[in-house]
């Protein structure tokens, strides 16, 4: 069973997983907790709201990145969760998070039912450069439910920065009432309403895959949502010919 290779010969895995060297993450700012003030709360759907936070020392972020949010009780008990950043980097010193109201949820429950404008929370970030889009390559974005949040940051960035690079968003929601950011979608977006038309399928993606649908150089695909959606959508992409090493996935748990 001992094989004849020399001890130092590197192993080459059968598939290369793309580590995006092009993305620089500032780990300095990510290490520091900062006090953020809620400056606006906007209802998106009956169960989803957007929280706009003023973060005085925010160092900026790339569309797609997330942060960690922490709540502290009087007795020192803390609860912290990850949330994707919904806003585009705009240098305003303010960022937006969009949260599902999870039934019985400790952190999302507090923000939806107790928090009001003027309250403070703590945040650290931005975190993880892997699921981030600097705006350099054509991007095919697939999201379901609140999974659309980091993808919307990318769409907003493309618009705000006036980028020519193609972006396509396929967003899945149960009903029109559950569709987050419904008013903001334009030609780049395909909406899949699962209650009436069933879940995302190969036909929804067909226009973007294959020889006709691809932009020059192909897509960088970003998939975000529940694990169930992430598994399903990433499999459809692979079956449609999208290379595995050009699919980035953010699972909300």
């Amino acid at each position: 069973m001992t094989d004849p290779q020399t001890p130092r010969e590197p192993f080459v895995p059968p598939t290369a997983f793309a580590v995006p060297g092009r993305i620089e993450v500032s780990s300095r700012s990510a290490a520091v907790w900062q006090r953020a003030t809620v400056v606006e709360i906007r209802r998106e759907t009956p169960l989803v709201s957007t929280f706009r936070l003023k973060v005085p020392d925010w160092q900026g972020h790339l569309p797609g990145q997330h942060l960690m949010l922490r709540l502290t009780a009087e007795d020192g008990y803390v609860a912290q969760r990850h949330y994707s950043i919904a806003s585009a980097p705009d240098g305003s010193g303010e960022i937006e998070l969009t949260l599902d109201h999870v039934p019985g949820g400790e952190v999302s429950g507090h923000l939806h039912t107790v928090a009001h404008v003027g309250d403070t929370v703590e945040v650290r970030g931005p975190l993880s450069g892997f699921f981030a889009w600097p705006g350099d390559r054509p991007a095919l974005l697939l999201g379901a439910g609140s999974g659309v949040v980091p993808l919307m940051s990318m769409v907003r960035h493309q618009r705000l920065a006036g980028l020519d690079v193609p972006v396509r968003l396929v967003v899945s929601a149960r009903t029109p009432a559950d569709l987050i950011y419904a008013d903001e979608y334009a030609d780049e977006t395909t909406v899949v309403l699962t209650r009436s038309e069933g879940r995302l399928n190969a036909a929804h993606l067909a226009p973007f895959l294959g020889a006709q649908g691809q932009p020059e150089g192909g897509w960088e695909a970003y998939v975000c949502g529940s694990n169930g959606f992430a598994e399903h959508a990433s499999r459809l992409l692979v079956e449609g010919g999208q290379p595995v090493d050009r699919i980035r996935i953010e699972r909300f748990g």
Binding site: F11, V25, A30, V78, V114, N227, I247
Partner: protein, 205 residues
């Protein structure tokens, strides 16, 4: 640094009766087991799975599924902790202790660190001392069931005393080095070691 409490936040669990198994900043995921991988779940058949130990070892080796299963069985019963803040208590993983594989490959004296690599190309770095002495396993069972693919099946590494991103899914091998070489998440802003009790989450912690 001390923090001002968040107005009106009481928290689900009180600090006083916080479960002592819960490291700081973590919450109990209960029966849930969130999936957190940034890659497409590979469809890797057990028959195609291999595990290799190479680098600074006297006898680099590759084990097939059957060869690995012929080694003495070992299990981990205990808790696991993910950097995204959930912990899971009292899990059981069945497989083989990493010590068994390493004993066969015979690490050279200069080996100090390892890079665990996955069949997908994912990597994670660890000090050798964190994966020896009964602290790490290659596992293919979760409870009494085969390890599900989305959780790293057919086989993954587990290093339960560190945050779970160190426990490479779909593990393909371990390379022994004489230096620390950051892996996938470590190059993406995560802490090099990842001790949940010291809250070593991100670079700079």
């Amino acid at each position: 640094m001390t923090f001002e409490p968040t107005r009106g936040f009481t928290g689900r669990a009180r600090a006083a009766d916080r479960d002592p198994r819960l490291p700081p900043g973590q919450y109990d995921a209960g029966d849930g087991w969130p999936v957190l991988s940034a890659e497409v779940t590979p469809r890797l058949a057990a028959a195609d799975w291999t595990f290799r130990v190479d680098g600074l070892v006297a006898a680099p080796r590759t084990w097939t599924w059957d060869e690995a299963h012929a080694l003495p069985a070992s299990e981990y019963r205990g808790d696991i902790h993910c950097v995204t803040s959930w912990s899971k208590f009292g899990v059981r993983f069945g497989g083989v202790s990493l010590d068994t594989f390493l004993a066969a490959a015979r690490p050279l004296p200069e080996a100090t660190h390892v890079v665990a690599y996955a069949h997908t190309g994912y990597t994670s770095n660890l000090p050798l001392s964190d994966v020896t002495g009964g602290k790490a396993w290659i596992v293919w069972e979760y409870g009494d069931e085969p390890l599900p693919a989305e959780h790293g099946g057919p086989a993954r590494l587990i290093v339960p005393h560190l945050y779970f991103w160190k426990s490479a899914k779909w593990v393909a091998g371990l390379r022994l080095l004489d230096r620390d070489e950051p892996g996938f998440w470590e190059q993406n802003g995560y802490h090099h070691r990842g001790d949940p009790w010291a809250e070593e989450r991100y670079a700079g912690d």
